[in-house]
């Protein structure tokens, strides 16, 4: 038995080309299979349009679709940023003390399980019909914020106890403790939460528009509803495609952020050499 290694260079992740080959292949197979199935089975385009048709529609209606995407994206990103900030802040606040935790967690859970559709009218009435975007933002935020809150709390509580002792001994202030110990220590959890929330804020923006969208809210949800009710199913799927593409993009960005932040020290992103 022998293990001879000739490469003098340290182990590096594969080249960019090879990295993306398989995913691209997977995508091709997925779309190809869909196209074939739709054609072979003769599925009518009102039920499940072929990818080619969706793509065609996408190109044809790109102007209005991209405009709708722009609207949804704005709500999504605002809600996501809001969810990140509030989720981390609340997660920190909730883990300061077991009592506080016990007292306030139930309300957070309550906010999570209350269906947006039920409180949408209240929010719309509250912010006024003239500020529908604000209602949408609040609703989308409601959908997105819990995972960050929950994961931040879990992360805060998982901080290494030995290090925590070091900070105790140095008489670290609350803020310094948060900034230099808890935040970096909880980062793997927070980022996992952020990846969940990034998707949820997309959904949140769409659902918010479904339930509270009115004249001035013309995002992808609107395209989906309207295309559905006009039986323009390829257009609906084009909107869904854009939505997915957008969601995957945010998710990829979040993954890249995660990699950048954890690459040098955390197991989950380390390029381990043994």
């Amino acid at each position: 038995m022998s293990a001879t290694s000739a490469d003098d260079a340290p182990v590096r992740p594969g080249t960019a080309a090879a990295d993306w080959l398989l995913p691209a292949l997977g995508g091709a197979i997925f779309l190809g299979g869909w196209e074939t199935l739709v054609r072979l089975l003769g599925v009518p385009k009102f039920i499940l349009p072929a990818p080619s048709l969706i793509f065609e529609t996408l190109v044809k209606d790109r102007a209005s679709l991209l405009e709708a995407l722009g609207f949804t994206a704005t709500i999504t990103l605002s809600a996501f940023v809001l969810a990140m900030l509030s989720g981390i802040a609340l997660g920190v606040a909730l883990t300061q003390n077991r009592m506080v935790e016990r007292t306030f967690w139930p309300y957070a859970v309550m906010m999570q399980v209350t269906p947006v559709i039920a409180i949408a009218p209240i929010i719309v009435i509250w912010v006024g019909l003239d500020r529908v975007w604000l209602a949408l933002l609040i609703l989308a935020w409601l959908v997105a914020f819990f995972p960050i809150l929950s994961n931040t709390a879990a992360g805060m509580k998982s901080v290494d106890h030995g290090l925590s002792n070091v900070f105790d001994l140095c008489g670290a202030s609350r803020w310094k403790r948060f900034r230099y110990l808890q935040l970096p220590g909880a980062l793997p959890y927070i980022l996992a939460g952020a990846r969940i929330s990034s998707g949820l804020s997309v959904i949140g923006a769409v659902v918010a528009e479904f339930v509270a969208g009115s004249g001035s809210a013309t995002g992808l949800a609107w395209v989906i509803v309207e295309s559905g009710s006009l039986l323009n199913v390829p257009r609906m799927f084009a909107a869904l495609f854009l939505l997915s593409a957008f969601g995957i993009t945010i998710w990829l960005v979040m993954s890249a952020v995660q990699r950048a932040l954890l690459r040098r020290w955390h197991e989950s992103e380390l390029a381990r050499e043994n």
């Binding site: 009518p44 209005s64 009218p121 209240i122 009435i125 609107w222 295309s227 006009l230």
Partner: protein, 304 residues
């Protein structure tokens, strides 16, 4: 000048053309009304917004709304109704063998939640349907198109056209109005408070709306333009189709309107509808049904 907000029951479409025509031609402004029309949406409930004070005037697709509002403790009145009968329909596949409402017994029927407290109880008691037939409908026709036994709700102005395109043949269409559900449609609801405080504004709204609808029926060009501007998904064909359907099915114009003008309502219709609702247990009995509407603005509007 006080700004009044009027929220419609759905995104801008030809079915609300009369109001848009009035706005487009300045009829509201003429009589001193600073009106903003807000489009509704899938889950925008004008009644809830009205009750919550977010809007002053709401458009409801059925008469029942004002009954419910009173029973919840919010006094409001219907002041006009652009549709003399509801354009709601059920439709079935051309080759489903369904010829009458009775034939739908035992088959899945896709209707939206709002219908379950409106026309559904009538259909149920009149044709022997059961609740287990209900399937939720969220505006997506795919499930209907895929299943030849499926039945779904719709509006005479929209879904039959779409189904015809998709199926290649016109579907079987059944008007809800034919089932004995005697509601008005496109009902304008105003809070009692506004009626008491600024009756002249309500008067203006009704008058201008009736004028708008009459004008729209004669030539919808201005209304179409306004609707398309609000909601660009409305192509000329879609609007034209809807417009023609409204006329063909005698939704806006009937014998009554020929006498009393578009938008008219009558005590008799309100009474019989109330009694029908009470019979089905949808509204509590012993309620003064007259409080749910008023004809005072209409009579003056038509000048009769």
């Amino acid at each position: 000048q006080e700004r009044i907000t009027f929220v419609t029951s759905w995104r801008a479409q030809a079915e609300q053309g009369g109001y848009y025509q009035a706005q487009e031609k300045g009829f509201y402004r003429e009589c001193g009304l600073n009106l903003v029309i807000r489009q509704g949406g899938p889950s925008i409930d004008p009644v809830q917004l009205l009750v919550g004070g977010a809007v002053e005037i709401g458009l409801s697709s059925v008469s029942d709304a004002t009954f419910h509002m009173h029973q919840a403790g919010f006094p409001a009145r219907a002041v006009m109704a652009a549709f003399q009968r509801t354009p709601q329909i059920l439709m079935a596949h051309p080759d489903s063998g369904i010829e009458r409402f009775e034939d739908m017994r035992g088959k899945p029927i896709m209707i939206a939640g709002s219908a379950r407290n409106a026309y559904w109880p009538f259909l149920r008691s009149r044709y022997g349907f059961t609740d287990s037939q209900i399937r939720n409908y969220t505006g997506q026709m795919a499930a209907f198109l895929a299943d030849r036994n499926a039945i779904q709700q719709g509006l005479i102005t929209n879904e039959p056209n779409l189904a015809t395109q998709a199926l290649g043949r016109p579907p079987k269409v059944f008007m809800i109005a034919d089932s004995g559900y005697g509601t008005y449609g496109s009902v304008v609801v105003v809070g009692q408070a506004l009626i008491d405080r600024r009756p002249e504004l309500v008067q203006c709204f009704v008058q201008a709306s009736v004028r708008g609808w009459t004008d729209y029926l004669a030539d919808p060009t201005a209304g179409f333009a306004a609707v398309a501007r609000e909601n660009p998904q409305n192509t000329p064909e879609i609007m034209r189709n809807a417009f023609d359907s409204l006329r063909r099915a005698n939704i806006v114009e009937t014998e009554e309107t020929r006498i009393h003008g578009v938008g008219t309502m009558s005590d008799a219709r309100w009474q019989s509808h109330y009694e029908a609702l009470a019979r089905e247990g949808i509204v509590q009995p012993g309620f003064d049904w007259r409080r749910a509407y008023t004809l005072r603005f209409l009579n003056r509007a038509t000048g009769s």
